[in-house]
Amino acid sequence: MKSSVIIFPGSNCDRDMDVALKKFGFENQMVWHNDAKIPKSDLIVLPGGFSYGDYLRCGSIAGKSKIIKSVIDFANSGGLVLGICNGFQILTETGLLPGILQQNKYLNFICKNVFVKIKNKENKYFKKIKKEVLELHIAHNEGNYFCSNDELKSIEDNDQIAVTYCDHKGNDDEKNNPNGALKNIAGIFNKDKNILGMMPHPERMIDPFLSGEDGSLFFENLIESL
């Protein structure tokens, strides 16, 4: 399986993602943001970081970069596109995913492990994961998911909520909401479920000695599902 990780100026989780993808069997290639085309891929990843210094709005400049047109074409033809953290912000700015990630409610940069509840397994990203709750890492200043009431209704009607912030038992209530995100949303799909954007970093949870292994479950499932 071939994957491509796009590098923007200011990306800083691109190499972690490269390590994670290769560890679980992907033949990964790194693609520069100023390239016109993406080499043949089964999966495209927009990594975390601070693309273009988060100027204007997080992800807004990357959302108009040269490579993005081919990412959009790939996504619209049904290809799998995964955006983590800044990658999620870029996906909302391109319009591939609805809503926007606003500044955290309490104005603090949050860097910690959190639990997320898998809300929908009818897709390639979570299909064979047996657990209902994953422990992953978040590190962001703008992770406060927001959209209009109409969009929220459409997201819920189409089962587009992928993961929500919760406690270790899976209670996804306001008490377990780290950043003020609407409905505790930590990640969403597009309608067809081939595009996933989420704030938590599975690539940081692939080693039992360094962190945890719930990210491994994510990548193991991904390579099996493809």
């Binding site: 204007l56 709005r57 807004s60 108009k64 909302t92 700015e93 609805p98 809503g99 926007i100 606003q102 500044q103 955290n104 409610k105 309490y106 104005l107 406060n144 927001f146 959209c147 209009s148 969009e151 003020g180």
Partner: protein, 77 residues
């Protein structure tokens, strides 16, 4: 010609920075400040002498890049 644009958060959208500024002002004895909303201001130099053409181009820029219409409104001055 120069076109000026102000981008602000829509009414009802949470503005934690504005809130923090308001609370700081209150703490500085500006007790009568009841709300602050923070926005962005752009000075755009367009190589176009026709004012209406320049402004309609800037409007496109606002819709496509300068503002995110999910949470922001724009005003061309």
């Amino acid at each position: 010609m120069k076109v000026k644009v102000i981008v602000t958060l829509k009414n009802g959208v949470l503005d934690p920075q504005g809130k923090a500024i308001q609370q700081t002002l209150n703490g500085m004895t500006f007790d009568n400040v009841s709300e602050v909303r923070q926005g962005k201001y752009f000075d755009i130099e367009v190589n176009e002498s026709d004012e209406s053409k320049a402004k309609s181009q800037v409007e496109e820029m606002c819709k496509k890049l300068l503002a995110n219409l999910v949470i922001e409104d724009y005003e061309i001055l």
